[in-house]
């Protein structure tokens, strides 16, 4: 579609991809070569569920939702970045309009943050 300049523009990404691929291969190979080789139940356990579905006392105790909360918090900020970044790139051209909109956006995200905070989502030892 676009010819040579476009391709060259994507070259760094290609390089980055190669490097990361190489790193991944290296880690796996290195781990296999150097690590101890012991097989036990834990290694063969189902992986896909994430959390082992162990039985809990009848009537239900508390379930450790900390990981889940952490993930949610991560998402709150993750989303912020997704939109902050393009805004930062075109910040000068969007001028005041962009700034106001972005403040509104961040305020909205902060509301969510405040909600999590007030509801005890940030207290790890609970």
């Amino acid at each position: 579609m676009r010819g040579a300049p476009a391709v060259s523009a994507y070259l760094p990404i290609l390089v980055l991809g190669l490097v990361s691929f190489g790193f991944a291969v290296f880690s796996v190979v290195a781990g296999a070569l150097t690590g101890p080789k012991r097989y036990n139940r834990a290694r063969l356990a189902a992986y896909e569920c994430g959390i082992e579905p162990t039985p809990q006392p009848a009537g239900g105790g508390r379930f450790p939702v900390k990981y889940y909360l952490t993930a949610m918090l991560f998402i709150v900020f993750d989303i912020e970045i997704v939109f902050l970044y393009p805004w930062a790139v075109t910040f000068d051209r969007l001028a005041l309009f962009g700034l106001i909109e972005m403040v509104l956006f961040i305020a909205t995200v902060l509301v969510a943050y405040a909600y999590v905070w007030r509801r005890g989502g940030l207290e790890w030892d609970n």
């Binding site: 579609m1 896909e48 569920c49 579905p53 809990q56 379930f63 993930a71 989303i79």
Partner: protein, 99 residues
């Protein structure tokens, strides 16, 4: 490389995700399959954006990532909740509602 190939890849990913939803019975894996479908759509959007030389598709991809994230939050909340009630994340166990 022709953009059509990327679209084809997107279609393959979408179909894989679709198959995953139909075949896996773990709600979380089903949900991951849905995410795969969303990402297939993202790939298609970005490819098309490149094909047509406008940014709409890329913007859409940003938004769909956001939505996917929100969906994760909601989805995990529901799945974790039902898992705690039933000790099972199998979607098929959740079939009290019928005829």
């Amino acid at each position: 490389m022709s953009p059509a190939a990327y679209l084809a890849l997107a279609a393959v990913l979408f179909s894989l995700g679709c198959t995953g939803v139909l075949l896996r019975r773990n709600a979380i894996v089903m949900f991951m399959s849905v995410e795969l479908m969303l990402n297939a759509a993202n790939l298609a959007l970005v490819t098309a954006s490149r094909m047509h030389g406008n940014l709409d598709g890329q913007v859409f991809a940003f938004f769909s990532m956001t939505v996917a994230a929100a969906e994760v939050v909601v989805g995990l909340a529901i799945i974790v909740q039902i898992f705690r009630s039933r000790r099972s994340a199998s979607i098929d166990d959740a079939s009290l509602l019928k005829l």
